[in-house]
Symmetry: D2
Subunit: 347 residues, 4 copies
């Protein structure tokens, strides 16, 4: 049994980790930390876990995280980088669901997250937690910076078009028009995400610049092997869970004869969590609710030169905690679907 610690169990990615790990047959939840709620049963804060998770929140000191095999950080940005060096030194693997180990360039991190990176040396070692791109590296890693929710959907939607220097599409004019449910903002007391503010309402935000943009650009450029540029417009939509990314890519003359449906189907044929829908489909976010699946549809309206790629994911599962469990499975040599064989909840 893998001994698991969770730092920061009071947010949505924390409770989602607990939902999934509590049914994972190879895992023991050894500690869930929250300095503020120490002593309270986790299931008192989240009654959905009554009967499934018996552990109480503990302080980081009590938690003895160094005795864990792996520690997940479901914390605000900046927490993981403060604790990771000591845990790694003790032989504990670290999976950070926040942004501390996503961006390779510490200057970029500082620019977007407004804090200095305290262990830039670990950035080089950290593996980006997107299994469909980095499966082998993840398997051998001891430190993972999990892919963000938007970046996961955008990268998986463009991956087959860009990989390995492909010249099928224009790489400097990509557009990602993304729509996220409100849980993506986390379980923080804020006016903007109140029910009476975000309900029956739709808006764009972060058009001037969003933290996920450099992550997406870094990821796509790495996939492509050359710089890729993209305009990213995120929107807030009144659903609880779910991201729908609508991606626009201009087909280059070299790509005009491509069977894009086939390209996507073949690329993802062996992927356990990427489902290429039949031609003409329009995937719904609820078709992946509660599951680690991503569903993708490829459109070429009027058989013209613009590709429209539709991607849906559950931002808390494939966009966060589910993907983190997938990565853990890889790190410990377990079957990739272990603990993630959950049928989406529809309706």
């Amino acid at each position: 049994m893998i001994k698991v610690g969770i730092v920061g169990g009071t947010g949505y990615t924390g409770v989602e980790l607990l939902r999934l790990l509590s049914r994972h047959h190879d895992v023991t939840i050894q500690a869930v930390t929250s300095r503020k709620e120490a002593g309270m049963k986790v299931s008192e804060m989240f009654p959905s876990l009554r009967g499934f998770v018996d552990v109480a929140f503990s302080t980081p000191e009590e938690a003895d995280l160094k005795s864990c095999d792996v520690v997940f950080f479901a914390t605000p940005h900046g927490v993981a980088m403060a604790q990771a060096p000591e845990l790694l030194a003790a032989g504990v693997k670290v999976i950070d669901l926040a942004a501390d180990f996503r961006l390779k360039d510490p200057a970029e991190f500082q620019k977007w997250y407004a804090m200095e990176h305290t262990c830039p040396d670990l950035l080089a070692e950290a593996v980006y937690g997107l299994a469909e791109v980095n499966r082998d590296a993840i398997a051998g890693a001891r430190l993972i910076g999990m892919a963000g929710c938007y970046p996961t959907s955008v990268q998986l939607g463009l991956l087959p078009l860009l990989e390995n220097g492909k010249a099928l599409i224009e790489t400097q004019t990509l557009i990602a028009d993304c729509k996220s449910g409100v849980s993506g903002a986390g379980r923080k007391a804020e006016v903007g995400t109140l029910f009476a503010e975000a309900g029956d309402n739709f808006k764009a935000y972060g058009v001037k610049g969003h933290r996920h943009l450099p992550e997406i650009m870094q990821g796509l450029s790495a996939i492509h092997g050359a710089p890729v540029a993209l305009t990213f417009v995120p929107h807030l939509t009144p659903l609880i869970r779910g991201i729908h990314s609508t991606l626009y890519a201009r087909i280059r003359p070299e790509g005009r004869e491509t069977d894009f449906q086939k390209l996507f189907e073949e690329r993802y044929a062996g992927e356990p969590f990427v489902d290429v829908m039949p031609a003409g489909s329009t995937p719904e976010t609820r078709s992946v609710r509660g599951s680690n699946m991503v569903r993708i549809a490829v459109h070429r309206p009027g058989n013209g030169d613009l590709l429209v790629i539709l991607v849906v994911e559950d931002n808390l599962v494939k966009g966060a905690s589910g993907q983190a469990v997938q990565v853990m499975n890889l790190m410990f040599g377990l079957p990739e679907r272990q603990g993630l064989d959950v049928v989406p909840l529809l309706p």
Copy 2:
């Protein structure tokens, strides 16, 4: 033109006052105070008011509230009682939408609101702002404690049964099973009313005791002329605006022959904002969305001894700001519907 000041314009009752008063032909909005947002245009915080309200938030000092004819307090509990004495002394009428002047007994106030009442002498003078009960007293008042959102719906639903010592129903076993939209909790940063918490979710709260219970009991007892007891169970339902109160009353033997439909219709025949629906109706909250109307339906299932009364209101209008404008109209001798002739928004 009546010169109006609004203290606390950044919450839902504040913006709702502005929506209504900005179209009220006899009113000038002289000042909207917010110490925190002083200098910001009101319409910058609430873009729905662009083109309708040109005023900026001001500090209380700048606002010169003493030059107003009337000041509305759309503030947390405790603010109005601190400022009312000075305003009243300057000849300004005061309408408090919070609870400072609702409960007649300062000890009760202290028990439920956890603060000492600083001007208990004014409690005796203050008139309870429920026009259907206190129309004449309101017209002559200079200080109003507006009825709360739940209490308005419960009192209007039971008024015809209890008024003036009527013996139609048992008065010690009343039940009010009430459901409120989330805006009732205000525009405060809190986890419990986040979209991802309150959305797609339903729960009771405050079963042990809710601040509106003593207000309802005081109001009903005053209406009846004798003590009335009631069990109050509020629930949070995922709508933005709206309260639906389902009221249960046992018919006394003396009441069995009563035509309750007729009783309600006659009682409310002249009321501009109370609509008794045809027999058999089940009113919807959206049928009053954005309006000052209350709709009531009276049921007697199986022609038995239990009355079931259904009441809907918009908690921000008849349950708060609309009713406050109605009260202002009465205080200044204006037609009661002035500024409130708004068709509900459906769908």
Copy 3:
């Protein structure tokens, strides 16, 4: 492996059966019938099932339901009673999720469902599918009329108070104020349950009489061993899944010394799917979303003579398909939790 047939797989209870049964280790889904959609893959209608359910809809004729071990009817009222006799004669067990075998009196059935009962003889044999009441009878049955969604929550909320002629509460003045999510109305094209009608809206319905009332009265009377009378007021609330029942019961003088919290805890101590919450709790519908669990809280406001019992369930799981799987487990001697060990989805 138990060979399972599902008649009527295009509604919400159908897709919910498929969600649960597709992960049930002792079951093979042999056929899902839909005359209208015959030939279409089930996962084409419900993409959430892609990768989990590979079967296509078949006509009843193709389906060869007589070769199944058990057939679930997730159909409109009237379908099961037409097909059950033949299936039972062929040795197939039948579990009806509709109302055909709920009411024991065919005249009552005809009154509420506006159709004659075509096999009244089977009504006597049919066992009411509420495991917490009828566990042993279910285990030996070949025909089950599953409990309705509202009746499940109301009966489980009152069971400990009424069982075996207990005299703790008044049995003629019970009130069930129930609130249901919109999926309870089924996946039928109707104006009243459109998003733009039922969204941001709350209303009562069926106050004059609802089909679940005779079922609740029959069930409670059977539990009590004497007639029980109840006023039932259902409401439609804008959530997808979930029922919240608020039950009101007057305590009899004989019941005043009872420790009701303890009574409920002891009664349900061994029940796998009934969770009595700690004293003072207010259970949320989302705490059981997607799961077969019912959560109950017992309140006695002001330590008076009125009990307020709060019950939450997922209407599509414990209120329908999950409970049907629970019943199937009992009928086939399987562990009761088999296939139902699902953590609720929160948020």
Copy 4:
């Protein structure tokens, strides 16, 4: 007083016309037709209108529409073209909210609406009901084909960039990523727009081709004076009212020095219902809820070559019934804001 008839008063655009016209000081509602509901009071179907609209539905025969000054068609496609010739011949002005008189080419109409156009001669006469483009023509017209909901937002968002042959942006690669609330689908019994289907769900639809695409292309081409091509991807989002269009336009070299914020502000300076937001804004759909206002924000991320224009409107008001009242005002020489001076409902 203008005598108004409404054909088809049972849908959302019908009830919205009634909401607005019932408070319009220069209008008498003479008839609201519905063959199916003839005899029923309009306010019985829509209780929100109780006290505001006293008329009952009538059959078209009873309605004597020829005695009206103007008749609105709030009907399915095909109804207006059947009745318009006779009404026009009788001197009645006609405003069609459906698509019968939008497309100039009858072959295009037939292609997209699957019915032959029965009065193609009137197509040439009909004026496209988008006041910001056709104000003068509308004022002199007797037949209007109102602009559709999506087309209104897209055309207003691009108008300042394209008018009169401007060469600021590329005109063949425009993208309109649009998101609509569910009321846009109308008040029709359909599975896809049920609360339990469209709630907590987000999806694209009509990617292969949507009826509003030819209307948008025709409109933009007319504005520009040369063919304009656009990719249109509509999405369904779980809100009741509201459209958010996110428009993407490549800046041509000739346009690079343009101050786009100023361009938009100047173009719309005199428009009563178009609000250009301050630079950097992200307009919310709720900021126009219930009002005829459109709000627009212009972004140029990273000061690059892609313009991102955000447009919000209430699809039932500016996207349908409100704009129809605006057009009626123009046709009858009334102030354009008459009856439309409504503050948006927020929250």
